[in-house]
Subunit: 174 residues, 2 copies
DNA sequence: TCGTTCATGTAAGACGTTACATGATTGT
DNA sequence: ACAATCATGTAACGTCTTACATGAACGA
């Protein structure tokens, strides 16, 4: 159900087409809830059928601009206030850690080094994003900034952990 | 494909039945890759069909003990060394942050307070888990300990971020 | 004997990914 | 003219969740 609310949430800032939402996603919500083009168009159709959004305008090339309905806003608010988020825990990179014992020590270290590198990179990308974004005084901006801070802290923690983990696994003497 | 490798990985430590794996999961891999009973039994059947594991013993009540085959171990090693993990980013709790502007400030603060509380709790649970686990000198233990450290650092970061976020949103005067 | 734990499975439906498909409009 | 971008959609397949279904064996 999360994608549904991600779309309602974006539309709470104003009308937009599927294509618009697709691009907005890319540099905001994609970092917390990735979705494909395919999924988004399908979901928008379902939301319109359910009366939570409606086509408020049509443009060239079949463009359909959607607007959040009062029912949609109610639904979004109910989601935020009456339900609690599911803990998300799936982490493939961390799953692999458990099984590093089945490969040679140097390869296990290489894996951890890769994690460290990816964390570094992810951290830098977020810093760049912070500079690149046009921080307006919209709700999405204000709260998006708070979410971005989260990402920066997490990627920094990832990086430090990876460094620590490498220390726990010194190279074998040979 | 991750569940598949989670099961191969557990079986790399020795033979086990679906039921055994189910319980081992609960206090280890469930924290990084949750799976239901239903999913696990289905996957075990598929792995056996693919020749990556095989039934090595039968017990009472239809119990089937599976053993990793050489092909299964190869597959597990290939996964660890020749493929790279997908970044996992889905985070429903964080997604909600973006939309806190659609509810009153005090409710937004209540949401953040809830996140802080859940982080605290998650952190404490991991500390407890650390004390409760019988840390042997198996591979799974050694690397599991490293994964647990990750969880502890992340939950601590979560907690600190939630505290910071609350400071960014002072109560409205009224 | 009777409740709990052990033990495995199937089915329906939701959600997500990948690939395919089509075509209009704009800018150079 | 032609390339890039705008714009929307469908189909097949894989994964995950929820619920249902069944029954043997163990221990008090």
């Amino acid at each position: 159900m999360s994608l549904r609310y991600a779309l309602l949430g974006l539309l709470s800032e104003g009308p937009a087409s599927g294509y618009d939402l697709l691009r907005t996603f890319k540099d905001s919500l994609a970092n917390v809830w990735p979705a494909t083009q395919s999924q988004m168009y399908t979901e928008l159709t379902k939301l319109a059928d359910a009366g939570l959004i409606e086509v408020s305008d049509q443009g060239p090339r079949g463009r359909k601009e959607y607007t959040l309905t009062p029912a949609g806003l109610d639904d979004l608010r109910a989601w935020l206030t009456t339900t609690s988020p599911k803990r998300n825990v799936r982490n493939e990179a961390l799953l692999r850690i458990f099984f590093l014992g089945v490969i040679p020590r140097d390869q296990a270290r290489a894996y951890l080094a890769g994690m460290q590198e990816r964390s570094d990179q992810a951290h830098e990308e977020l810093i760049e994003l912070e500079h690149a974004v046009d921080w307006t005084d919209s709700n999405l901006s204000r709260y998006g900034r708070i979410a971005l801070e989260y990402g920066e802290r997490i990627t920094a923690t990832n990086r430090e952990w990876a460094r620590w983990a490498l220390e726990q696994l010194p190279p074998e003497e040979g």
